[in-house]
C-alpha cells in the first residue's frame, strides 16, 4: 500500500512538473503544452469513434505481424533447435541477419507493397521474428538430456516427444520471446505508420506534428505509452502464468 502511494506521488509529481514548465515560461506552450490541456484533449478524444478506429488499425497490424512472426519462429526455431545439422548450418546466417535493423527494410517494403499495411507487416514480422526465434532455440536446447533419453527408452513417438517433452520445456522461453516480440512489434507498427504513412496511430502522430498541433501530438504520445504499457503488462502476466507450472532456471536474457 505504501509502495502504491509512493508511485502515485511520482506520477503526480511528474504531472505537476510538466504543468509548471510551460506555466513558468521555461518552454513556450506552443512546443510543450500544458499537461491539463493534453489531458483535456485525451478525454475528448476517447469519446471520438475515429480515434478508436485508428487504434484498431494499429493494433490489427500489430496482432497480424506478431502472429505471423510467432508462427514462423516457432516452426523454424523448433526445427533448427532440434536438428544439430540445421543449427550448425544456419548459425552464421542467423548471426548476420539478426542485428540488421528492421527499419532498414522500410524502403524495400514500400517498393514492394506501396504505402499499405502489408509494407508495415514486412517490418513488424522481421523484427518480431528474431525475438521469438532465438528464445525458441534456447528453449529447445534446454531440454534435459536425461528426460530425452528417458523418452527415447520408453519408445515415445516423435509426436509424443514433441507434445510431452519439447513443448513443456520450451514454452516458458517461447513466452519470454513472445513478450519481447510484442513490445518490438508495437514499436515497429507505430514506426511504420509514421514513416510509410499507412493509417493508424503513427500516422496521426506524424499528421499532428506537421499540422503544428502540439496538444494532439503530446496526447498521442501518451496514448502510445499507455498502449505499450498495456502490452507489457498483459504479456508479462501471460509469461508469469506459463512459468508457474514450469520452474526452469534461465539466463538473464529475460528482460
Amino acid at each position: 500500500m505504501h509502495k502504491v502511494s509512493l508511485g502515485a506521488t511520482g506520477l503526480l509529481g511528474f504531472a505537476v512538473v510538466w504543468q509548471l514548465i510551460p506555466a513558468l515560461g521555461l518552454v513556450d506552450p506552443q512546443y510543450l503544452p500544458y499537461a491539463t490541456d493534453v489531458f483535456a484533449w485525451l478525454v475528448q478524444e476517447v469519446r471520438d469513434l475515429a480515434f478508436w478506429r485508428r487504434l484498431r488499425l494499429t493494433m490489427t497490424s500489430w496482432a497480424v505481424g506478431l502472429a505471423i512472426a510467432t508462427l514462423a519462429a516457432v516452426v523454424l526455431g523448433t526445427a533448427v533447435g532440434l536438428v544439430p545439422f540445421l543449427r550448425r548450418a544456419t548459425h552464421t546466417m542467423v548471426e548476420f541477419l539478426r542485428p540488421v535493423p528492421s527499419v532498414a527494410l522500410i524502403p524495400l517494403a514500400v517498393l514492394m507493397f506501396g504505402l499499405q499495411m502489408r509494407a508495415a507487416l514486412v517490418i513488424i514480422v522481421y523484427a518480431a521474428f528474431w525475438q521469438v526465434f532465438v528464445q525458441v532455440i534456447y528453449g529447445v536446447a534446454d531440454i534435459d538430456t536425461v528426460a530425452r533419453d528417458t523418452a527415447r527408452s520408453f519408445g515415445l513417438t516423435r509426436r509424443e516427444r514433441l507434445r510431452y517433452l519439447v513443448l513443456p520445456t520450451a514454452l516458458p522461453y517461447l513466452m519470454t520471446g513472445l513478450r519481447l516480440a510484442a513490445a518490438v512489434a508495437l514499436i515497429l507498427a507505430i514506426t511504420a505508420e509514421m514513416v510509410i504513412g499507412n493509417p493508424g496511430l503513427g500516422r496521426s502522430i506524424e499528421l499532428s506534428r506537421s499540422a503544428g498541433d502540439a496538444v494532439g501530438l503530446y496526447g498521442l504520445v501518451v496514448v502510445a505509452g499507455l498502449l505499450g504499457l498495456l502490452v507489457n503488462i498483459v504479456f508479462r502476466f501471460i509469461e508469469r502464468r506459463s512459468l508457474t507450472w514450469h520452474q526452469s532456471v534461465r539466463s538473464e536474457e529475460t528482460r
Partner: protein, 265 residues
C-alpha cells in the same frame, strides 16, 4: 550420428563449410533468381556490390556515413553514462525507486520513435535533436536494468563492505557497479539495437544527410541497386555493433562467464 573420428583438417573443413555454406548458397540463389525474375526490385548481388563500391566508398562515406555513426556513437555513450549514473542513484535509495517506478515503466513503454516528432518540436531539426532522440529511446533498458542490478546486490556482499567500512566511492567501483554489470550489459545490448533503429528513423524523418536519409532518397528515386547497397551497409553496421559489443561484454564480464561455467559443470 555421422561423426566418425576425423582428423583436425577434416574437422576444420567441415566447420568452414558449415559457417559459410548457407550464406554462399543464398548469394548464388539470389543471383540466379534476380536474373530469372522479372521483378525490378530484386537486383543481383554483383550489381549491389558494384553500387556499394561506387556509393559508399567515396565522398558519401564522409558526408553521410560518418555523421550518422558519430551521432550513433554519441547517443550510445550518453545513454550508457546517463543510464548507469541515474540507475545507480535510483537503485540505491528504496524510496526514490518506489516513487519513480511507475513513471519509469511508462516511459519505457513509449515506443521510442514517437519521440522523434516531439524532439523535432522542442529542438528543431538539428544534430542535437537526433542525439536526444537516440538517448531518449536507448536509455530505458540501461536505466531499468541498472536499477534492478543495483537493487539486487547480494546482501552478504553489502555487509562485507559495511563491516570493513569501505567508503562510498570505493564501494561504487568495487561493489555496486561490478555486481550490477551483468544486468547493465543486458541493458546495453538492448539499447544498441534501439539506438540503431532511432538513428535510421530520425534521419529518414528529418534530415538532409545521413544513412537513413540516403536510403529513403534512393527508394523514392527508384535507385534500386543503390537502395540495396544502403540496406547492406546498415546490416553491416548492425553486425559490427553486435561484434563490438560481444568483445566488450566478454572483457567486462569475464569473471561472470567464468563463474557460470564452473557452476554449470
Amino acid at each position: 550420428m555421422n561423426t566418425r573420428p576425423a582428423g583436425p583438417v577434416a574437422r576444420a573443413a567441415a566447420n568452414f563449410l558449415f559457417a559459410l555454406g548457407l550464406p554462399f548458397l543464398t548469394v548464388v540463389l539470389w543471383g540466379i533468381w534476380s536474373t530469372a525474375s522479372t521483378s525490378r526490385f530484386f537486383v543481383g548481388p554483383l550489381t549491389i556490390l558494384d553500387a556499394f563500391r561506387q556509393i559508399w566508398i567515396g565522398p558519401a562515406f564522409v558526408d553521410d556515413v560518418l555523421p550518422s555513426l558519430y551521432r550513433l556513437a554519441l547517443g550510445i555513450v550518453a545513454s550508457i553514462v546517463l543510464g548507469v549514473a541515474a540507475g545507480v542513484t535510483i537503485g540505491r535509495f528504496r524510496r526514490l525507486r518506489e516513487t519513480l517506478e511507475p513513471l519509469l515503466e511508462f516511459f519505457r513503454a513509449i515506443p521510442p520513435p514517437v519521440l522523434i516528432p516531439v524532439a523535432m518540436l522542442l529542438l528543431g531539426i538539428t544534430d542535437t535533436m537526433k542525439v536526444v532522440v537516440i538517448v531518449s529511446g536507448a536509455i530505458w533498458p540501461i536505466l531499468l536494468n541498472t536499477i534492478e542490478g543495483v537493487r539486487a546486490t547480494d546482501s552478504v556482499m553489502v555487509e562485507t563492505a559495511d563491516s570493513f567500512q569501505i567508503p562510498s566511492w570505493e564501494r561504487l567501483w568495487l561493489l555496486v557497479l561490478p555486481a550490477a554489470s551483468p544486468r547493465i550489459m543486458t541493458g546495453v545490448r538492448q539499447a544498441l539495437s534501439v539506438a540503431l533503429i532511432l538513428m535510421v528513423i530520425s534521419e529518414m524523418f528529418a534530415s538532409s544527410s545521413g544513412l537513413g536519409y540516403r536510403i529513403a532518397y534512393f527508394q523514392r528515386n527508384y535507385l534500386i541497386a543503390e537502395m540495396w547497397s544502403g540496406i547492406l551497409l546498415l546490416g553491416l553496421i548492425g553486425v559490427s555493433l553486435a561484434v563490438l559489443f560481444g568483445l566488450a561484454e566478454r572483457r567486462v564480464l569475464r569473471w561472470y562467464h567464468g563463474m557460470k561455467e564452473i557452476t554449470r559443470a
